[in-house]
Structures are given as structure tokens and as C-alpha cells.
């Protein structure tokens, strides 16, 4: 069955992830339910020279357990994360892309830094160690589209394949585009989401400069918040034409029903409530669903004063009287800010809300902030039946991307 005005409906038929909370979706959802924190002392070379030494690192990860020598030579950490998440998602979907389907399927992925580990390692080689020769694969390893390209090769996706880079909104922009392409009939299946592996000396040092990082904890919406904490990882989903999914009897995890993107056109780092509000309202309008339909919002919720106050004001405006009834939580206090991949990891909390009726909490919440006077689901997960949800992402550069999902 087609949707409004001849548009195709879009199903999510697979999900995959690796992040600080777990190396797959079940482990991550369990951590969401338990309100577990994945943030800890960072461990990598030269970490002692950093002022900020905490982050949500993927631990217990051994690349050699998943990839052979040749692959490791070609895959930056962000590509490895992407491929692992993509394999989990495709396995769940039960799809095979041989033949016709591969020709009308593609991949669009978000990342902000791309192969930052590769940049960092090789700058060190030439600048610090003074070597004049680098490994021949530095360029194919570090490029932002490396992950998308390897996913296309791994599964034989021969349709649209590209990467999107809009800082902290990258994954939401990518998933929004995947949704629009399938809805418009331009692709049957899109693998989509995002990935980031910025927890290296140069990556964290750069963030330190802005002085918005917390030295101790991520406490979104809490009056005593003092900044963001970075994470790493990937989230990948199978977005599929609804009729195609139904025809093959696939299990549908959720339906993607709306997407909107806006630009503040104001400031390179300070967010605007109007820009965010237009994206939130836009996604609801695109979904043709009224605010009362939405029971949960996965917030951008970085734990900086600038974001949290602006985001709460935007939600309050966009939702009007219903703002007091909608639940909003930031899972970043658990998995950290996964930058270009964050919206993808956070979409898992949206799917959990719709499918399992469990709302992931905002952990680390200690003191109410009158400027964030919404139901932020503090510290403990909550059982609640919701029919539709939103996922917010608001990037540096004033770029906002909001997705709307419905229970399948």
C-alpha cells in the first residue's frame, strides 16, 4: 500500500550497532533499560596530555576478531564500526542484495570526522617522528565516504551510495535522505545511519579548545550540567520500501514517517531555538501527525547549557500544551556524544520506545533546571506505550535534522 500522494511508505527492517554500551543492539538496549553509563577514563596514546580525560570508548574490542589483515590495513576504526553495525542490521533484515535488488539499493551514512584515527596516526608519523614515508592506503582509509563505500562493496549495493557530513546531525541527515529516497521510489532499500571514531589524542584535543567538554560527567537537562562528553561507535539501519518488506514477510521494527531539516543561518556554534523548533514542527508536519500523537522525543541533549535550554524551549514551542505530556530523554549521558554517528545510536532508543514500550532514561540527572522543565525521564527507564516518536539532532553550524517514527 502506498502512502499519501503516491509516496511509498518506509519500514525499518534491521538494526545494528557498536558503541560504548555494547557491541550489538541487544546489549545496547539492555544498557538503556538499566540506565548504565558507558563513560569512563579514556585510554589511548598521550591521553595524559589532555585536560579532558573521560569519554565513552568502545571497550573490549579486538579488530582481529572481526577482520583479516588486509581489511584492517584498509579500514579505519570508523569504517570497522560501520561494517559491524551494518552486518548486524542486514542479518536481522534477512535481505540478500544479489541480482535486481542490489541495483536499486544503496547506502547513505553520516560521519563528521571520517577516518580521524588515520589522520592522527599519520600526522604523528610525519610531524612528530619526522618520517617522510606514509602507508600507501592513508587516503582511501581516511576519506569520509570510506565507510559507505565498504558497505556498498560488502553487500553489493549498486544504487545511490554516499556520505553526509553535518557535524552532530550527520546521521540524522543521512537517515532523513534515505527515508526520502525510498519514499520517492528512488531506491528499494537503503542502509543508513552513521559512525564516528574521534576518541584519539588529536580529536579530543581539538574539542578541548572549545571549552565545552565536561571533565567529570554528562548530565543533560540537570541544573548542574557542565558540558558534553564524547563517545564513539556506529549505528546502521535497513530502511526498506514498506510493500517490499511486507511482500517478503519481513519483521518491521518501526515505520519512518517524517523528516525535516532546517538551518539557523545565525551562528557557527550557538544554537537557535527557532531553527530547532522549525525542524521539530517540520518533521511532525511531514509525518502528518499532530503533536499529541508523539509520546517520546530522543533529545539532542548534549549537556551543554546552550543546547539543553534551547532544545527545551524549541520543544515547548513546537508541542504547545502537549509539551508537558511528552517524554524527552537524552541517552548521551550513557553512550556519550557519538558526534556524526550519534543520531543513529539514538534511533535505537526510539525503536525501543515504539516496540518494547520502554523509554530510555536521562541518567546523571541531579538537579531540576527551571529552563528545562519537561519530563526528562530522569535516571530510570520507564514503561510507557507510545505510538510515535521524534529524534532530534542539532549540529554546530546551525544545522537541524529531526526524524519522526511510528509504531509498525
Amino acid at each position: 500500500m502506498s502512502g499519501q500522494a503516491g509516496l511509498r511508505r518506509v519500514a525499518i527492517t534491521g538494526a545494528g550497532t557498536i558503541n560504548a554500551l555494547g557491541h550489538d543492539v541487544p546489549a545496547t538496549l539492555e544498557a538503556f533499560r538499566e540506565g548504565r553509563c558507558g563513560i569512563g577514563q579514556l585510554e589511548f596514546r598521550d591521553v595524559e596530555r589532555l585536560t579532558i580525560q573521560i569519554g565513552a570508548q568502545v571497550r573490549g574490542y579486538d579488530p582481529q576478531a572481526h577482520f583479516n589483515r588486509q581489511q584492517i590495513t584498509l579500514y579505519d576504526r570508523f569504517t570497522q564500526f560501520t561494517l559491524l553495525a551494518a552486518k548486524e542490521a542486514v542479518a536481522q533484515s534477512g535481505l540478500s542484495f544479489q541480482g535486481e535488488l542490489g541495483l536499486c539499493s544503496g547506502v547513505v551514512l553520516g560521519t563528521a570526522g571520517g577516518g580521524l584515527n588515520t589522520w592522527d596516526e599519520n600526522y604523528r608519523v610525519v610531524y612528530e617522528e619526522g618520517k617522510n614515508r606514509v602507508h600507501p592506503f592513508v587516503v582511501p582509509k581516511l576519506m569520509n565516504n570510506a565507510a559507505a563505500s565498504h558497505v556498498s562493496m560488502e553487500f553489493g549495493l549498486r544504487g545511490p551510495a554516499f556520505s553526509v557530513s553535518t557535524a552532530c546531525a550527520s546521521a540524522n541527515h543521512a537517515m532523513g535522505l534515505a527515508f526520502q529516497m525510498i519514499r520517492a521510489g528512488a531506491a528499494k532499500v537503503m542502509l543508513t545511519g552513521g559512525s564516528e571514531a574521534m576518541l584519539v589524542f588529536g580529536g579530543v584535543k581539538a574539542w578541548e579548545g572549545l571549552r565545552v567538554m565536561s571533565k567529570d560527567a554528562c548530565r543533560p537537562f540537570s541544573a548542574n550540567r557542565n558540558g558534553m562528553v564524547q563517545g564513539e561507535g556506529a549505528g546502521v539501519f535497513v530502511f526498506e520500501d514498506w510493500d517490499h518488506a511486507r511482500a517478503r514477510g519481513a519483521e518491521i521494527l518501526a515505520e519512518v514517517v517524517g523528516f525535516a531539516m532546517t538551518a539557523d543561518a545565525a551562528d557557527i556554534v550557538m544554537p537557535s531555538a527557532q531553527g530547532a523548533e522549525r525542524a521539530i514542527a517540520g518533521a511532525m508536519a511531514d509525518a502528518r501527525l499532530a503533536p499529541e500523537t508523539f509520546g517520546y522525543i530522543n533529545a539532542h541533549g548534549t549537556g551543554t547549557a546552550a543546547n539543553d535550554k534551547t532544545e527545551c524551549a524549541a520543544v515547548a514551542h513546537a508541542f504547545g500544551p502537549h509539551a508537558d505530556r511528552v517524554m524527552i530523554s537524552s541517552t548521551k549521558a550513557m553512550h556519550g556524544h557519538v558526534i556524526g554517528g550519534t543520531g543513529a545510536v539514538e534511533l535505537l532508543a526510539c525503536i525501543m520506545a515504539l516496540r518494547d514500550g520502554v523509554i530510555a532514561p536521562t541518567i546523571g540527572y541531579e538537579e531540576p533546571d527551571p529552563e528545562c522543565a519537561l519530563d526528562v525521564v530522569p535516571n530510570e527507564a520507564r514503561e510507557a506505550k507510545v505510538g510515535a516518536v521524534l529524534s532530534n539532532a542539532f549540529a554546530f553550524g546551525g544545522l537541524n535534522a529531526v526524524l519522526a517514527l511510528k509504531r509498525a
Binding site: G209, L210, R211, V212, S214, R225, N226, G227, D267, I268, V269, M270, T304, A305, A306
Partner: protein
């Protein structure tokens, strides 16, 4: 020129450059807002101060007003840097 005066002049010059003003136009009672310096400008000024005096300024851009480092006026910044420089020399 004594140490105090030297610090004051360096900071005035840093702030004037950020505000795109002549140093003579920068007065001690002026706030960053008076000078048209926004949050990003403030972060950049703090960085320039750290580089100029080789000190580490405890400034959190997340909530500048709540930082340990007083940035309420040019005079307050000068006083705060003076104590950081003194602490560094004592160390």
C-alpha cells in the same frame, strides 16, 4: 613599567584586537557585552591570554558566568590573570 601595568596592557591589547577597537577605547569597567565580544570571541581571547602569559585559565564556555575565572569586566579579567601569573611565579 611594573608587572601589573604590563599585564594590564597586554590584556587590553588582546581584548581590543578581538573587539576590533583601539586599545585606548577599552576601559576597565567594560563588560564583554559592552565590547561586542560574544561567546566565541571570549573563548578566543582566553586562548590568547593563555598563550601570552603561559598560564592555564579555568574557563568553561559552557556556562561562562559560573566559571572560576571572573570574566564580568576587563578589570576583573586583569585581576584574575594577575593572580594566575602570581601563582605561577610562586610555584
Amino acid at each position: 613599567m611594573n608587572e601589573r601595568e604590563r599585564i594590564r596592557q597586554r590584556i587590553t591589547a588582546i581584548i581590543a584586537e578581538q573587539a576590533m577597537l583601539d586599545p585606548s577605547e577599552v576601559r576597565m569597567e567594560m563588560t564583554p557585552q559592552d565590547l561586542g565580544i560574544d561567546s566565541l570571541g571570549l573563548v578566543e581571547s582566553i586562548f590568547a591570554i593563555e598563550e601570552a602569559f603561559d598560564v592555564s585559565v579555568p574557563f568553561n564556555a559552557n556556562e561562562p558566568d559560573k566559571s572560576e575565572f571572573d570574566i564580568s569586566s576587563v578589570g576583573a579579567i586583569v585581576a584574575a590573570v594577575e593572580s594566575l601569573v602570581e601563582a605561577k611565579e610562586r610555584a
